[in-house]
Symmetry: D2
Subunit: 137 residues, 4 copies
Amino acid sequence: MGETPFSLEFKVRDYECDMQGIVNNANYQHYMEHARHEYLHHIGLDFAKLTEEGIILVVKRIEIDYHFPLRSGDVFFVDCVAERVSPLRFAFVQNIFRLSDRKPIISARVTGTSINRNGRPFLPEIIDKAFGPVKQQ
Amino acid sequence: MGETPFSLEFKVRDYECDMQGIVNNANYQHYMEHARHEYLHHIGLDFAKLTEEGIILVVKRIEIDYHFPLRSGDVFFVDCVAERVSPLRFAFVQNIFRLSDRKPIISARVTGTSINRNGRPFLPEIIDKAFGPVKQQ
Amino acid sequence: MGETPFSLEFKVRDYECDMQGIVNNANYQHYMEHARHEYLHHIGLDFAKLTEEGIILVVKRIEIDYHFPLRSGDVFFVDCVAERVSPLRFAFVQNIFRLSDRKPIISARVTGTSINRNGRPFLPEIIDKAFGPVKQQ
Amino acid sequence: MGETPFSLEFKVRDYECDMQGIVNNANYQHYMEHARHEYLHHIGLDFAKLTEEGIILVVKRIEIDYHFPLRSGDVFFVDCVAERVSPLRFAFVQNIFRLSDRKPIISARVTGTSINRNGRPFLPEIIDKAFGPVKQQ
């Protein structure tokens, strides 16, 4: 009964592949970050404007399981589901699938928070509302 | 009477921006490389397969004029026109324009050649045909 | 009574910082990968040569806790301790500390394995020996 | 009778190599940028602080000749000589050599200027002094 998660399509760019001929591990973080920022736009938040206003969204923890590598020419999509994990923390569950056959590429969980320019917790109403109440277990 | 050049649309990803809040200079080379490789696909050449077969396409010279920076959220396109400059060299004339107002972002000229795995000039028929005869001045 | 772990010093390069003025999250994976490959050299393994010989070392899982961000000008070190977690898997425990005050920047655990060019498990003796026996709990 | 130019040593990191097994073209811009910023520190200018103060150093043109590729494990140095080319423009002549045998890797010329946050020319005294008078031809 779940909703369709937010999802963004990409194509591997050859400079993202390393000497093994597969996408370098760190680039999956880039793909996921871009999908998260596009998801934020989708729910009315602009990462760059938030940054300018001193609302600094930061990643506190990332867990990635690498199932299968992407290669030159692969088209894939990155999905993104957000949840509130505590008053000060939110998380994004993100998966990457190859488009042609829905082959799972990676599964990840990215936990974040919001701070001010001095590094202090700062989760103003605009962020609080965007991520909703803490999920009841 | 010119044809419409090959062109590819992109959107700035926030990780491509640096502390100045604009796309870092080196990333324009990434955009242009991806547009060139997509152009090659368009004319029937696959960069990754060529590499596996020992046909190594390499850049010998790049000139880039930076007119105006791209920022978070900008959508832009990169065009690509190829020409043969000598028996062993070909060039790509590439421009980037912001989509919303066609503002020129960069103009570039990228000269390349083809070598084998030992670094020797190696321009087999498949490459020779793709870039056509040397342009008469 | 522990030995000093393998450790490698780096300095932040400005292109590694994003619009928040701090090192972009994905770059910590780059730092850690470079430290792992230098660690491999240190114990007699060359990642590039292994790749050429069809011994493909891949990351299966990564967990990173981000404690504090690095900024322009920061000098830091990345340490690396390897352990065998199962017949086919090994792990690297990696931490990053700012050099000036030993402030913890990130803590990470990277689990990997070794496959052949067809993606099948392939852990030849050279790899088996390098990571030693499975650690008794 | 020239002075020894400012020079910075690097080692190739494997993630900088692409599927051809050589350093990807765009990474040479990264190396050169880092060497320029370290050169600026050397003459008393801090790129990050200048950026915070609204003195935005930008590249206007780059020309790179690629002579020979760097590979995994290569140690190299990037040198940097600055010159004033006009009241508003300065240039950096930069070369990369492999350390082991001084083999030339790339030669480049990078022309820059200084603007304010609104993109207007802004070359305050601190920058003017750093680059000295326009070179007489």
